[in-house]
Amino acid sequence: MSENIFDPHVKDIAWCPGCGNFPIRKIMLEMLQELELDPVNTVMVSGIGQAAKSPQYIQANYFNGLHGRALPPATAIKTANPELTVIVESGDGDMYGEGGNHFLHAIRRNPDITAVVHNNMIYGLTKGQASPTTSKGMKTPVQINGVFLEPFNPLAAAIALDASFVARVNALDQDNTKEIIKKAVQHKGFALVDVFQICVSFNKVNTAKWFKEHSYYLDEQHDTSDRSAAFSRAIEDEKLPLGIFYEQKDKPVFEESFPLYQKDKSPLFQRILNKEALEKIAAEKTE
């Protein structure tokens, strides 16, 4: 395969040896190349955490913002310039904890962006506290009696919010995962891909073996256009289904809803002041 232009050939990657972020990075680099995207027109957006360091290791534009706050700038970037491909990569704590409210409302907006959530079911960077997706009962230095809270089910929540593309994958199953992320990026609208990721340093419960044993792929019979069915699959909890749960192909997207793009497709940065409009507003005030 030819040289991947998205690979900046970083010397020192700040993840632990064996971390599940490495296979995700590999998938993302290949995906970007195979979709023939252009680094100059691709923007990676992230919050803060181990997963959120991902854009540091991809040669493209990036906006490495605040913990929990990846979705608002991602939405705005896409809205300000619909010609850009905007991909969010961040952690489970980032997206479902600190960023929970943005998760709710970004889905409602349905901008044409993709959110790849590295779900290691733990707070990695801050050294192993429970995240919203940590399994009940897992003990950590803060949850000393084991996690009590119901784990957040991002798929069920996204389906409840009528997200336009909802999928779950396992980072260690690279081929399937890459194909699904490709579809997510190609999907027009907000695409959520929750990625099972191992954290070798802090999550000793949800290991590679655990993920393998506790997951299976949705089969052909699953109708991805059936919201109720998708929901029922999403709340399965003995074995966790992988694949595309729910997909709406024609859901209107946020940035296209604005009349200014219906008149003219050019990105906002290319537009200059419309003096007449201002003069007209001022003139009305003299009446």
């Binding site: 705005a76 200014l260 200059i272």
Partner: protein
């Protein structure tokens, strides 16, 4: 009451419950009087509710520009009985009270049966128009002005309704004869006013943003800042501007930064509580050097406080919101003109210096209306400061000025990496402390601060410059201080700051000439005084503060100055 001659200026106060129509009286009357050639200024105070309670609007009609609150009413027109004595201060023995005796009771009042007259003209709800007519009559407004104004104001309504309203107003004019018994009003008209705009603080800020080519507004409703959002939304079809009401204020700032990053000029409008929530995001603007412009319409805090009242209590919040050290710019307009031009400039400097810029107003300011000359668009700027990137583009190139050329994604051959972690020139996370961190702070904070300081707006000086007493003001209190000076026999020196941060480099020199400095501000803790002491090293000898939620009137300030003269 004895007959009083009113020359130059009249002050009129309307009061009523929310929803009773004093807002529409204000709207028509100000238009009408401006069209007739009067200078008008109107300001309102109202409760945080949609219906009921008691609100008021105060109007000054004058032969010259008089844009400041006044304590006393020459005319008082209550639509309901004010049992709370809310407006007691406005009424003096000289105040002429006009009302419908069936509704309001005062010992000595001019009874005008508004509803009855309105009903006669076709509908009880025309009583606002009758009230408008009464004032128009006192002020000698021509029938043609009445007709024109009502016709444009009610544009789109049924012609019958418009005519009936005009009729109601004309009946009001007739009734006004009753008032002439008490008042002789002779105010000179000024034809040049007719071509001026009638503008609120809200509109001035919103138009300043439009003049800056604003293209993205992300905000969450919050009194008294919502008006700017509503105005920009109302114009958005003409201005091709994206308007997004977001889920919370954290989204507002982070979206705005995303939009600026992608090359669109973005704007946020909020009040203190909302700004408090943006604190972390403002710090993100600081480290990523992404421009940010926010309008903060202050209201009294802490907490929810008094949502529809006024205060200048968020200066410290705005100056220090966000963790860590980074430069910022704070404008505090005192007139609608300043609000327009400074908002416009806020975008230019935010873009040029890649810093957060704050436009600090308050409820009193945004909700006041006055006439002002049509903006001179030649004095505005709307030029982008970003650059086309080369392939080896580095977002945080170390420069002498502290400003690194700002690229945007998709424009040029390079990629644009912005990072909230400390970073190297390229935008990659760094842990190189003694060199990279140090160099970045020196660039981003020290050198850039000096660059920003070169474009600071000097304070506006007035009064008697040689007096040993200096009276300082900032933001919305500026005009009230200027007007107060006119009430004084021998005014001291006056200085008004429309930019409150950074302070001018020579601030110490400017201020050290004065033996005594009094700072007038609408907050309890004398925030600007503290700022001056902390950064200009000057002793402020008198704090003239007010924190009731109401703005200073000119008389109040005059009294305060007198007491220290």
């Amino acid at each position: 009451m004895s007959r009083k001659k009113i020359a130059e200026e009249i002050s009129i106060v309307f009061s009523g419950a929310a929803g009773q129509g004093i807002q529409s009286i204000e709207m028509i009357l100000t238009k009408l009087l401006k069209r007739e050639g009067y200078h008008v200024f109107s300001t309102k105070e109202f409760m945080s509710r949609i219906r009921g309670g008691i609100n008021s609007t105060s109007l000054r009609v004058s032969s010259g520009r008089v844009n400041a609150p006044m304590e006393k009413a020459d005319l008082f027109l209550p639509l309901i009985q004010d049992t709370t004595l809310h407006l007691q201060d406005k009424i003096t023995e000289h105040t002429v009270i006009i009302g419908e005796q069936e509704v309001v009771q005062f010992d000595d009042m001019v009874d005008i049966p508004f509803s009855e007259i309105a009903k006669r003209c076709g509908n009880k709800i025309y009583s606002s128009s009758v009230a408008v007519g009464v004032i128009a009559g006192i002020l000698d407004v021509s029938d043609s002005t009445i007709e024109k104004t009502f016709t444009t104001h009610f544009k789109g309504k049924d012609d019958k309704i418009i005519q009936e309203n005009i009729q109601a107003a004309k009946e009001g004019i007739k009734e006004s004869a009753k008032i002439q018994e008490y008042l002789e009003v002779v105010i000179e008209k000024d034809a040049s006013v007719q071509d001026e705009m009638l503008i609120s603080g809200t509109e001035a800020v919103a138009m300043g943003a439009v003049a800056a080519n604003v293209r993205y507004v992300a905000s969450y409703p919050m009194s008294p800042a919502t008006g700017v959002l509503v105005k920009l939304a109302g114009w958005s079809e003409q201005t091709d501007c994206i308007i997004e009401q977001v889920e919370d204020e954290i989204t507002a700032v982070n979206m705005a930064l995303g939009a600026w990053y992608a090359g669109a000029r973005a704007f946020v409008t909020t009040s203190g509580g909302g700004l408090a929530l943006m604190s972390e995001g403002i710090s993100l603007s600081g480290i990523t050097e992404i421009p940010f412009v926010v309008h903060v319409a202050q209201r009294p805090g802490p907490g929810t406080g008094l949502p529809t009242r006024t205060e200048q209590g968020d200066l410290h919040l705005v100056l220090y919101s966000g963790h860590g050290d980074f430069p910022r710019i704070i404008y505090a307009p005192g007139t609608v003109e300043e609000a327009f031009y400074l908002t416009n400039q806020a975008f230019d400097l935010a873009d040029k210096f890649q810093v957060p810029v704050f436009i600090l107003t308050d409820q009193y300011f945004v909700d006041s209306l006055c006439n002002t000359p049509v903006w001179d668009l030649d004095k505005t700027v709307a030029k982008h400061h970003f650059t086309e990137t080369a392939q080896d583009y580095k977002r945080y190139a170390i420069t002498e000025s502290g400003v690194s050329p700002r690229g945007i994604p998709g424009f040029g051959k390079g990629v644009v990496k912005v990072d909230s972690d400390e970073h190297d020139e390229e935008g990659l996370i760094t842990e190189n402390l003694n060199e990279t961190r140090k160099a970045m702070v020196e660039k981003r904070f020290f050198r850039k601060f000096n660059s920003v300081r070169k474009e600071v707006i000097e304070p506006d000086c007035f009064g008697n410059k040689d007096n040993e007493l200096l009276v300082l003001s900032w933001g919305s209190t500026g005009n009230a201080v200027k007007h107060a000076f006119q009430l004084l026999e021998s005014p001291p020196a006056g200085m008004h700051f429309s930019q409150v941060w950074p302070l001018p480099e020579n601030i110490e020199d400017i201020l050290s000439r004065y033996k005594r400095i009094a700072v007038v501000e609408n907050n309890a803790s004398a925030q600007f005084a503290t700022l001056l002491k902390g950064y200009a090293g000057v002793p402020v000898t008198h704090n003239i503060v007010k924190f009731t939620g109401l703005p200073f009137s000119q008389e109040e300030i005059a009294r305060e100055i007198q007491s220290i003269q």
